[in-house]
């Protein structure tokens, strides 16, 4: 069932001028604002990571006060998760999803603008605690009692809680908007089995956001009560472990919230650059939904050392392992997509393949960590830091960069420089592994995470130095990318054309960048590759119908 009931943007919203950005309800402009804002927060988070790595470059205190170090690691994680990866995906989805489904805008354009401004306010509010002299230093997990007023005095944790509550509200509003949009505004003929994969993953992600975020909101409000009203939910007399349950009930699904759109991007990119349809579309959809459901049943694997009942630990170990199944299905389907294709290696393809290779490592280290007895040894060590970065950097970030290269011509009408992109690719791939692979070794050698200092006789010094050098190289690769973006944006010529990659989804049928009203006309959607069908005729093996 599809219909077009979206509000048309007012004429002239695509004009230049600050007011037109502030007042816009155009999903494309809002998407761009999300992306620029998230990009800014990424630079902040990267700077904090740099400081952390510099502090760890040698044993002994270097230049950061331990409290400052704790604030850096807390705000690095918080920034990257809540202010970069999630809003960056929201930005890309905001721009691309309505175009992919042939809609004129999001279902609730004003709500969409409201989401963005609430998000911006939340991020700014959280960062304002730096100006007040102290940020949260209790870790992005902020376990009580450490995050209680007694052990974390000052306004840092309060601002952090409020910031997350505010950005969480923006997330929930955005999630509702995505669900309603995808449900109602699909182009004629676009049944559920003809939905582009990015849109599918955004759909599942939005439902996860909607289901998980209230839990975190509730938990953080209780924590705020503990801090400001002297209640005792998680303090002595209450239950500190209860907070961990509440926190991870949100924060484990949050991992999939961050990684699912990357799955979507890769599922878009691989078929285009292999010139084949997605292998096992239906299986991939089921795997996506399966991950979305299983993602809610594994949270306690973050708590294997908290003292849960052994039987509970066993159940959560089993559920955690089971996540490997839909993930494995996805991998084989992606390889199946490449198999027998006619592959070219433009930058989006390079990063998508790197995504496959790096995310696999993150998935495999997850098998170790998800196994309860091994987690007793590896939990809270650098092994975890390695794992989460292979998932979120090797996975979400490589997928994100692939998506940025893929849709940049659509967003701007201009092609990024391929030579610089190749430099960016190799420096990022190599330095990423330099920074994060040795962390597995450090974890096995017993180095706990979140320490600002270590003794020189523990054998941790060399790899820490190696990682810090890798961090500098990672910084160089980032600047290559930024340089590429800046140089390309300053080009006057719009050289991309409507569909530079010969891609197959509807966003490529309109101009680059798209007009305010998105489309002058839409084809009837006959498969998940409507533009392919236009070029080659409706494929023999196409599946799905307009109604299912």
């Amino acid at each position: 069932m599809t219909s077009h009931v979206g509000t048309l943007p007012r004429p002239g919203t695509w004009d230049k001028g600050l007011l037109n950005w502030i007042a816009t309800v155009d999903h494309k402009k809002i998407g761009l604002m999300y992306m620029w804002t998230a990009g800014f927060f990424f630079l902040c988070g990267a700077l904090m990571a740099l400081l952390v790595r510099m502090e760890l470059a040698a044993p002994g205190g270097q230049f950061l006060h331990p409290d400052t170090y704790n604030q850096m690691l807390t705000m690095h994680a918080t920034t990257m998760i809540f202010l970069f990866i999630i809003p960056m995906w929201v930005g890309i989805a905001n721009y691309i999803v309505p175009l992919q489904i042939g809609a004129l805008d999001m279902a609730f354009p004003r709500l969409n603008a409201l989401s963005y401004w609430i998000f911006l306010g939340g991020g700014a509010f959280m960062y304002s605690s730096f100006l007040a002299g102290t940020a949260n230093g209790a870790g992005w997990t902020s376990y009580p009692p450490l995050s209680n007023a007694e052990f974390s005095p000052g306004i840092g944790v309060d601002f952090w809680i409020a910031g997350i509550l505010i950005t969480g509200t923006a997330s929930m509003l955005g999630a509702i908007n995505f669900i309603v949009t995808i449900w109602n505004l699909r182009a004629p003929g676009m049944g559920w089995r003809r939905l582009p994969m990015l849109t599918w993953t955004v759909m599942v992600m939005a439902q996860m956001v909607l289901f998980a975020t209230p839990m975190l909101t509730g938990g953080l409000i209780l924590l705020l009560f503990d801090r400001t009203l002297d209640t005792g939910f998680f303090a002595a007399g209450g239950d500190p472990v209860l907070y961990q349950h509440i926190f991870w009930f949100y924060s484990h699904p949050a991992v999939y919230i961050m990684i699912l759109p990357a799955f979507g991007v890769v599922s878009e990119v691989l078929p285009v650059f292999s010139r084949k349809p997605l292998f096992g579309y239906v299986a991939l959809v089921f795997a996506t939904v399966g991950i979305g459901v299983l993602g809610f049943l594994v949270w306690a694997h973050h708590m294997f050392t908290s003292g849960l009942d052994p039987n509970v630990q066993m159940v959560f170990m089993l559920m955690t392992m089971m996540i490997g199944v839909p993930t494995g299905v996805k991998f084989f389907n992606w390889i199946g997509t490449m198999w027998g294709g006619s592959l070219t290696f433009e930058s989006p393809m390079k990063f998508s393949i790197a995504f496959l290779m790096m995310f696999l490592i993150g998935g495999l280290s997850g098998i170790f960590l998800g196994n309860t007895p091994l987690d007793w040894q590896l939990h809270d060590s650098y092994y975890v830091v390695a794992h989460l970065h292979y998932v979120l950097f090797g996975g979400a970030m490589f997928g994100l960069v692939s998506g940025l290269y893929f849709w940049f011509p659509k967003l701007t009408g201009k092609m990024l420089d391929e030579k610089l992109a190749t430099w960016h690719f190799w420096t990022m791939l190599i330095s990423f592994n330099m920074v994060f692979f040795p962390m597995h070794i450090l974890g096995l050698k017993g180095m706990p995470r979140r320490i600002y200092d270590y003794a020189p006789d523990r054998g941790w010094t060399f790899w820490n130095q190696f990682e810090t050098v890798g961090t500098y190289l990672l910084g160089v690769s980032l600047f290559i990318f930024l340089w590429n973006v800046i140089v390309t944006m300053r080009k006057s010529e719009r050289d991309a054309g409507d569909n530079p990659w010969e891609a197959n989804t509807l966003e490529w049928s309109t101009s680059s960048p798209p007009p305010a009203h998105n489309f002058d006309g839409l084809p009837y959607v006959t498969s998940e590759r409507p533009l392919w069908d236009l070029r080659h005729g409706v494929a023999e093996g196409a599946h799905g119908s307009a109604d299912d």
Partner: protein, 440 residues
Amino acid sequence: MQNGSDNSSRFGARLVSVLMGLALLVGLALAAWISFDAIPDSAWQTARQPAIDDVASPLTRELDDFYQIVFYMAVAVFVLVEGLILYAAFRFRRKPGDPMPKQVHGDNRAEIAWTLAPTLIVLLLAYMGYGVMQQRFVTEYDQDPLVVNATGFQWWWEFDYPEAGFATSTEMVVPVNRPVRVMLESHDVLHSFWVPELAGKYDAVPGARDGGAGQNSISFVAERTGRFEGQCAELCGTQHAGMRFTVIVVEEEEYQAWADAHAEMVSLPELPEDDPETTPNESYGVLDSDSAEVRGYKYFMARCITCHLVDGVNTRVAEGEEIAPVRSADTPGPNVTRMAARTFLAGGVVAHTGVGAQTWVREPGTLKIGSNMAAMGYTDAEIDDILTWLYSFKIDDDVMRPVYAAEPRPDHLPPAYEELAAELLADDSVAEADAHGEGE
């Protein structure tokens, strides 16, 4: 998924190798598992490098063996999948004049196979994991254990030996080849007790103690003697990095001698008959008496007693009012009765040398930024007196030194700290300022 029958059968044929690979993988895993049980421990141990450095207990050995098995399976999956990706990337690279590839939408048989294969593998891994998991809860590591209460503080560990009746901190001495059960408590925030070579880690949850609900414990049997470094693994505030400890494993007889000596070692100084036992703060500064020990005692009672405990002393405090004996775990600072025996101070951050101890008492916040130990404004001479008193209840060197020096750890005080300490000691103006500054 409907497929052109042509395409799918060709495709299916190509995928036979994939399926074979997966089947092989499951077979390998099974074989590894069976051989893991079949090969005697020693053969398995000599056959490979431990992933966990220097495992020293049956539990960590078990974990390490299991790690290796999962590792080999992970390597097999890694090689298979990365190999397929790279193979596909090179083999199916577009060449000039290539026709449009066959449009294959899927292959049901292949997809069923690669859903089942990972399912089998992860179920197998979970089953094996459950087997290893039970090791922690079986009683063989927990028969007739030596019980030690380990209490996490910001940022050091206290080790209380309830049977022998004494407490010490930062260095935990246990006998070899005897089960040890560490009961975990926390005085403030969450901490996590981790000695990588001896046991996994478990959290010390505040509010859970004395065997009550939610209290965690960790049991291990040390297989060989030596010093094993441990560290708090749960972010616990400013000096999370400086919350270190050492488990010192010695022979049973050595342990007994050490425990006996520790249980008996307090010998309080004899105070002069006419000594006013009242108002230590007043007596501080007007004291003109006696031995260094007595002066040190009074200095200690004036300020240090606020946080620290010396067994048998705290009941003699001020103004004739006796303070009931307290558990060491309830006082904010370490029980310093047996400080003389220890090789490290300040949660394992400061080496217990003469300079180290003096600088630590004088400038705790310099050696360990953010430490809850406050500078009390004592002069070097006064600190010397306090240390002299604390050292006066030592300790049979013949018993103590062999225990701690069994495998001496290189002095891990960072060079910068050593220089700083020397500088501070040389700088009289700082000492003057301190002498007149008020303690906080």
